[in-house]
Amino acid sequence: MTIAALVDQALDESVGLSTDECLKCNICNTVCPVARVDDRFPGPKYVGPQAQRFRLAAPVPVNLDGRRVHSPDVTVDWCSGCGWCTTACPAGVKIAEVNSRARASIRAGRRPRLRDWMIGQTDLLGRLGAPFAPLANWAFRNRPIRALIELTIGIHRKAPLPVYAGRPFRSRFRRRGGRVGRPGEPVLPPPDRAVVYFHGCAANYYEPHVADAAIAVLERNGFEVIAPPQVCCGLPLISNGLYGQARGQARQNLDVLAEYARQGYRIVGTSTSCTHTLKAEYDEMLDLHDEDARVVAEATWDICEFLVDLHEQGRLDTRFGRLDEDLPYHAPCQLRSHGIGLPAMDLFELVPGLRAVDMDHDCCGIAGTYGLKREKYEIAMRVGADLFRKIEASGATETACDSETCRWQIASATGTTVRHPVEILAAAYAAGDRAATAH
């Protein structure tokens, strides 16, 4: 075996082998939001480090009759993948990552369940639905149709499905002359005056207003925005154990993004889930350890992280106008996995009058696609219940949150309008401009 192969193998096993550090201290079980509300999930310690010993002992586990079994503990499927166990572990065990891989190994070699396959295809769903937005939106809000979808496909009738925006962001961006990074484009501005925007599926198909706000804020700070061709980051596929297809999509993204990253452009995203996938999951989950994956990971920034960094360099335009409002803020699980603190809260402090309050709640429950599923919807609602109560008790009409599926979950559960932090900043700039004009 070559040294390179040994290094590769060690990298591949770094997640699984981290379970050797487990002290069996139970801290992960005390922070797990799912175990908190449902006995069917015994907790991360049992399906993670404890079951992992058996998985490591036999990569293709067999039972006593010599028949192949897919996992020593199939209850791992109740794990929502929120990642709190990994965050809380004092010993550095990558529990959530172990669970995700175990889920993939349960699914490996089997035809995926239609529902799980389908909700992984966010790009396809976006492309199919966008031209028929009014019809699709009507159907998704029609109770008999939703009941039928629940029965046939298994997506819960009350699950917070997004609303199609009609013409996708990319198409509008191209039409208004935005840079879409195709061959033959005019000369690009230098990397300190332009960023690559990874909009992801949500801003493209459902929330183009988030993309608009991001572009307004970036342009305001002197950055041109390039939106090169891109596909879904692959996280919904990873969450549903469909690693093979996720790798294919990752490759498509890396091919385009790596070129920009090598030229020194930073890749900025408005979805903390997509940016975390680019930063960490291509490596940790999909075992993509090559140069392309590395340069893209290092060049990727969550937009709030990017803006805080600009501020540190004294480059952020801080002429925010007054926003006199209470703003509950929920930090998504994926943001926590970035390990970058709470950049949205740092930015909110710069806005006069804005009273942002971190709700300090573990998880809203949705965990990407988890809470959409018929059998998991109730769990997701119970996981987020305290958060919803706190937001309702605050009396605020707006809430802020960095991740799209969390926004849809919180909006559906609380009836408040849930905004991406960059929308709040764009509104604060607009307020500042209005005040300046009035003078």
Binding site: N26, T30, V308, E312, S337, H338, I340, D346
Partner: protein
């Protein structure tokens, strides 16, 4: 990159108490931790000190402080202030504690049928602080099916006088197992799940009535009820009041094997107190790099996805614990090194790390390993302690301080709180730290 007046590394009792206290002084603080600390295993009592032949924690502190190498030699005078402050803080958070360091030790029974000497305990254990009356019984009641608490076995063990360590004990101990509503159908229950149930007033009432009936069935006469320490978690105050009302007897919560619900309650209280004072707690962020100019720490970088997260700091507090907490490592050559800054640490030679019975906490000289400090808790080189602090703006608190044997001396909580108190005062009065440095950039702390 962000900025903080003070970054505290470690989210155990020492780190969180330092952070809360500093935030009260007006500092912008951020707590960075690899994960949750041992506070999640804590059983409730605040261990200040024990020593052979003395009968109060205060006297034990005095005894330990007479050894110039012990942290109490520096911190003994801070203990009453720190405990007084802690007492107000927990009372404010509806988790009042009873007892004081001048009170005599009492034996608190535990969920494995042992006891531990205590003098300061949360209200759920306060009933143990009163002497046992003649004829008074301890009735240990446990939910049937709860695998971490076996009342009959616990009672059998507690009937052995030797278990009580020479301290006052009840004349009789009985164990009763009781079916609580809905639990028969639930397996894999851990302590936290049962504590969550006790938080629910609708579940709590019939459960407590079942416990009351089981206690009454053991006969009349004076008694105290020993329950597993699961009487509520997030709403423990209300759960305990409900239990005292319905059961109508003195209740003692017995500490359990991990997870430790009393510790989780305290953690939640400290976390809320920190946030209310504008501080921030970031978990899952182990420190991977520290930038210094040789005399001062300038910034810390924590592990983040694809890069590191850099925070510029005025002062740094190390609350990373000792060998068990990960604040120290020993290498195969017998060197003991502090893990964040690579500070020189002191400790016994490698052939004396363990002696005698490895299960006897008194026999492990390696526990003495740690970082030596000056009176302001700034780290010094143990080989040349007179040369002054290694870093001017660093403080060391809690289990990382050299010279303590926290298992044998049961001094961990007292040292954590006293050193937190001292470090916060030292930084706030400008002893090398820089609270209130112009923060022209967003600092952790949330909106205030």
């Amino acid at each position: 990159m962000a900025t903080a007046d003070v970054a505290i590394i470690g989210a155990g009792l020492a780190g969180l108490a330092t952070a809360v206290r500093l935030a009260e002084h007006g500092a912008r603080v951020v707590v960075l931790a690899q994960g949750n600390g041992a506070i999640h295993w804590a059983g409730g009592p605040i261990d200040v000190a024990v020593a052979p032949g003395v009968d109060t924690p205060a006297a034990a502190v005095g005894r330990l402080a007479s050894n110039p190498a012990h942290p109490y030699a520096v911190l003994a005078d801070d203990v009453p202030h720190a405990l007084g402050w802690f007492g107000s803080l927990v009372a404010e958070g509806d988790l009042p504690h009873a007892g004081s360091p001048g009170d005599p030790f009492r034996a608190l029974p535990t969920g494995i049928g042992g006891t531990r000497p205590v003098a300061i305990v949360p209200n759920g254990q306060a009933a143990i602080l009163r002497p046992w009356d003649p004829g008074e019984r301890l009735v240990v009641v446990g939910p049937a099916g709860f695998k971490d608490f076996w009342p009959l076995a616990i009672a059998a063990s507690l009937r052995r006088p030797s278990v009580w360590g020479g301290l006052d004990r009840p004349e009789r101990v009985e164990g009763v197992s009781v079916e609580l509503p809905g639990l028969a159908a639930r397996r894999n229950l851990n302590a936290l799940r049962i504590a969550d149930l006790f938080d629910d007033p609708a579940w709590r009432r019939p459960a407590l009535e079942a416990i009351a009936r089981a206690v009454d069935a053991t006969g009349s006469g004076p008694l105290r009820v020993g329950l597993p320490a699961v009487v509520g978690c997030r709403d423990h105050g209300a759960a305990l009041r409900g239990a005292l009302e319905v059961v109508d007897r003195p209740i003692v919560e017995l500490p359990l094997v991990p997870p430790g619900i009393p510790g989780i309650r305290l953690y939640g209280l400290l976390r809320d107190a920190l946030r209310a004072r504008g501080g921030r707690l970031l978990l899952g962020e182990p420190v991977v790099r520290v930038e210094t100019d040789g005399r001062r720490v300038l910034s810390v970088a924590t592990s983040a996805a694809a890069r590191s997260y850099v925070i510029r700091v005025g002062s740094l507090v190390l609350a990373t614990g000792g060998i068990a907490g990960g604040g120290l490592v020993g290498d195969p050559d017998g060197r003991i090194v502090e893990t964040v800054l690579g500070l020189p640490a002191e400790g016994p030679p490698i052939d004396r790390w363990m002696t005698g019975d490895p299960l006897d906490p008194g026999s492990m000289p390696i526990a003495l390993a740690g970082v030596r400090t000056d009176g302001e808790l700034r780290p010094v080189d143990p080989a040349d302690p007179g040369a002054g602090p290694v870093f001017d703006n660093v403080r060391v608190v809690g289990g990382l301080l050299a010279g303590q044997r926290s298992l044998a001396e049961r001094c961990g909580d007292g040292i954590a709180l006293a050193s937190a108190w001292r470090a916060a005062a030292s930084i706030a009065t400008g002893g090398g730290g820089a609270v209130g440095t112009a923060a022209a950039v967003p600092a952790p702390g949330g909106s205030r």
